[in-house]
Amino acid sequence: MKSLAELDKLRDKLQQEMKARQGEHDVSIAVSMGTCGIAAGAREVVKVLLNELREQGLSDVALTQTSCVGLCRQEPLLEVKMGDEKVIYVNVDQEKAKEIVKRHLVKGEIITEWTVS
């Protein structure tokens, strides 16, 4: 059961972790959230990403959003940034989102067949 009491426990745990880990996010995932993205299911992708990030223990990956980038036909769209390298995945569904976390973020392998160049 998720309750407010549990939030207190979680906060204390996170505060401990914060002390152990310093520094900024250098990996981020942005989901495109224009009208086009939302209609195509971007919000469901965000939820899947969130749970997969936790599953994989990737607590220092920043999950953010961008607006429409003009590729409405290929939404949902996901942008992975690692350092200076930026990769855009198109037509992302819930299954693909999980794979991207597992392969790109965990193993560092870019899934080129789903990207746009």
Binding site: M1, K2, S3, L4, E6, L7, D8, L10, R11, K13, L14, Q15, M18, V31, M33, G34, T35, C36, I38, A39, A42, R43, E44, V46, K47, L50, N51, L53, R54, L58, S59, V61, A62, L63, T64, Q65, S67, C68, G70
Partner: protein
């Protein structure tokens, strides 16, 4: 758009794009008076008087890199499909308020959908924005505020994955509980 929570997300993203720092989402459902209505109110930069009529036009947008602005017109269409009411009020530099009301039992009314997902997506997009979510169902209430959550987080970011995962489970539990038993009264007839 499949459901109303997607429209709400879209409206809220407009607010974010308008530089909003305080967002209010209020939903009211009442079976007795057969109504489902929501209001999104922000303190963004507002819409000019001359543009306010035009936002209903799907081919109007003020965004520089876009040629269409479908969001508002899609919502208006969803409202009018079931004979509801739609209203948009805005004052430049003060903010914007969008209001939609539906006959709750209308066949063409889209379901409310996943409000939890909408709130979570909004928080990942605008960590600095404060949001109040107020949901009334048959006079029962649920209230959530990012400001209060941030206070109890004592400096831990609201955008931390673990916090968002907690929030997702918390919100979906609370919203489900609020809306549970919605058909009880009718189901027990006889």
């Amino acid at each position: 758009m499949e459901d109303l929570s997607q429209h709400l997300l879209d409206l809220s993203f407009n607010s974010l794009a308008a530089g909003c720092t305080d967002l209010q989402i209020c939903i009211r459902e009442d079976l007795k008076s057969n109504i489902l209505e929501f209001i999104v109110r922000d303190n963004g930069h507002g819409i000019d008087q001359e543009d306010i009529e035009k936002v209903l036009d799907p081919f109007f947008t003020t965004k520089e890199n876009a040629r269409v602005g479908l969001g508002i017109s899609l919502l208006k269409e969803a409202v009018e499909r079931c004979g509801g009411i739609f209203k948009i009020d805005s004052l430049p530099r003060i903010g914007t308020c969008v209001q939609a009301g539906f006959p709750r039992d209308h066949m063409d009314r889209a379901p409310l959908g996943d409000m939890t997902g909408t709130i979570i997506s909004l928080i990942t997009a605008g960590g600095d924005m404060e949001m109040v979510y107020h949901h009334e169902f048959n006079r029962k209430q649920f209230y959530f505020s990012t400001e209060e959550l941030k206070l109890s987080l004592e400096g831990i970011s609201i955008q931390t994955t673990a916090v968002l995962v907690w929030l997702e489970e918390y919100l979906s539990k609370e919203i489900k509980a609020l809306r549970r038993g919605k058909d009880e009264k009718f189901g027990r007839a006889g």
